[in-house]
């Protein structure tokens, strides 16, 4: 079940390339692989936590106030992550800045709460959090790897090809859009082709 779920989270329902959710942080912090990994891990933690708690209280929270309840739960986890990063990984805090707090409004997390955790058991919701969180992290790293390599000729901060003149365009937002677009196209082209061959 686990590997099936992981496949679903990373490929079929990949938050960025499959569902096109959470594009704002994907664009903003994907300039370096280190930032992408940090952001991915923060989202992974928040997603697992919020999925766990929301699936626990899903029968108890009245339908009409469920969204404010979910947002409060998500914001609690985000605040915990934010404080912990500030206290224990100050380097990452300086790089990500405001984007950690903005995880609260990341639609991947509220999306999973509303469409999955509020309707499934605790165990399934945790697995879903891990799968979708990993899908998000891997997508961010993929975008960041392309942008860091082309935009500043680096990988995790280390020069890859000495003497190569980086294409600065990729470090900026337009380069980010094009990278995300190209990867989206590639990802979905493969998926559509596979689906066609099945039918």
């Amino acid at each position: 079940m686990m590997s099936e779920e992981l496949h679903r989270g990373i490929f079929k329902e990949n938050p960025i390339f499959g569902l096109a959710l959470g594009l704002c942080p994907a664009l903003a912090i994907s300039t370096s692989v280190f930032n992408a990994l940090g952001m991915g891990c923060a989202v992974l933690f928040v997603l697992i936590g919020s999925n766990l708690i929301i699936s626990l209280v899903r029968k108890w929270v009245p339908d009409r106030v469920r969204i404010p309840c979910y947002i409060t739960i998500i914001a609690t986890f985000v605040t915990i992550v934010d404080l912990c990063i500030k206290a224990y990984i100050p380097v990452l805090d300086r790089q990500l800045g405001i984007f950690v707090q903005l995880i609260v409004v990341n639609c991947v997390i509220l999306g999973r709460a509303e469409s999955y955790a509020s309707q499934n058991t605790v165990r399934k919701s945790i697995v879903d959090g891990v799968a979708i969180g990993l899908g998000f992290t891997l997508s961010l790293v993929a975008i960041a790897a392309v942008r860091e390599l082309l935009g500043s000729d680096r990988f995790l901060g280390y020069t890859v090809i000495p003497g190569f003149h980086p294409i600065l365009f990729f470090a900026g937002a337009p380069g980010g859009f094009i990278t995300i677009g190209a990867l989206l196209a590639f990802f979905n082209y493969r998926r559509l082709k596979k689906e066609k061959s099945v039918h």
Binding site: A28, I29, T31, S32, N35, V57, W60, V61, P62, R64, V65, P68, C69, T72, I73, A75, T76, T79, I80, L83, C84, K86, A87, Y88, P90, R94, Q95, L96, G97, I98, F99, R147, G151, R154, F155, L156, G157, Y158, T159, V160, P162, L168, A171, G172
Partner: protein, 215 residues
């Protein structure tokens, strides 16, 4: 009515638990966060002064600069450092600048900034001279950020300017020399506002007389 009470009750409980959890996390991390801040500040001040100087923390009387430090070697004052805050592209950039008694900048160190990652945030970027594969063998280099390093040796008594020569790590030794000669720094591509912010902060302290008298 019954429904209203139920909804209110549910939300109250959720918020209450959330509040307790956050309060607990806050109280158990705040000492660490504060310690990190002080440690960074101390290290920043040390890094802008010549090695071996005694540093005295001085509370400023005027609101600007908020704080400054005096470095002495024996009885002689060798320099001062100022905590400056300058408006960047997104929010304030807090940094420390060290100036010797001749008005020459001995170091600039960024304390806090919220500039755009990949653009303005590169004011803190370290030069990556090591190749990827060497990373597995040796520990990461302790290079200082290249952007702030350019300020060392420039004078606050002359006009500070921005050169469009290209980014510092890509320049030859001769071009770097000519930058120092012109009392100018190279800008970060795509982040002129962040570059300007640091310069403006230094110009502001220069206008206030730069080297203040000892209190």
């Amino acid at each position: 009515m019954n429904e209203t009470i139920k909804l209110t009750f549910a939300l109250t409980i959720v918020c209450l638990i959330s509040g307790v959890v956050i309060a607990f996390t806050y109280s158990s991390t705040i000492h660490e966060i504060e310690a990190q801040r002080l440690f960074e500040e101390r290290r920043a001040v040390e890094s802008v002064f010549p090695a071996g100087a005694m540093i005295f923390d001085t509370a400023s009387q005027s609101p600007f600069p908020a704080r400054f430090w005096v470095a002495r070697k024996g009885p002689v004052t060798v320099g001062q450092a100022f905590l400056l805050e300058s408006k960047g592209f997104s929010g304030a950039i807090r940094f420390i600048v060290g100036i010797d008694t001749q008005g020459v900048i001995t170091g600039v160190k960024i304390l806090a900034q919220s500039e755009t990652p990949g653009l303005g945030a590169r004011i803190e970027e370290r030069p990556a001279e090591k190749l990827l594969w060497t990373a597995f063998k040796a520990s990461a280099g302790n290079e200082r950020p290249w952007f702030t390093r350019q300020f060392e040796g420039l004078s606050i008594r002359k006009q500070l300017s921005i050169s469009s020569m290209g980014e510092w790590p890509g320049l030859s030794e001769r071009e770097k020399q000519s930058l120092v000669g012109d009392n100018s720094v190279s800008a970060i591509t795509g982040a002129t506002v962040s570059t300007r912010a640091i310069i403006d902060g230094i110009v502001k302290i220069a206008a206030r007389g730069g080297e203040r008298r000892q209190p």
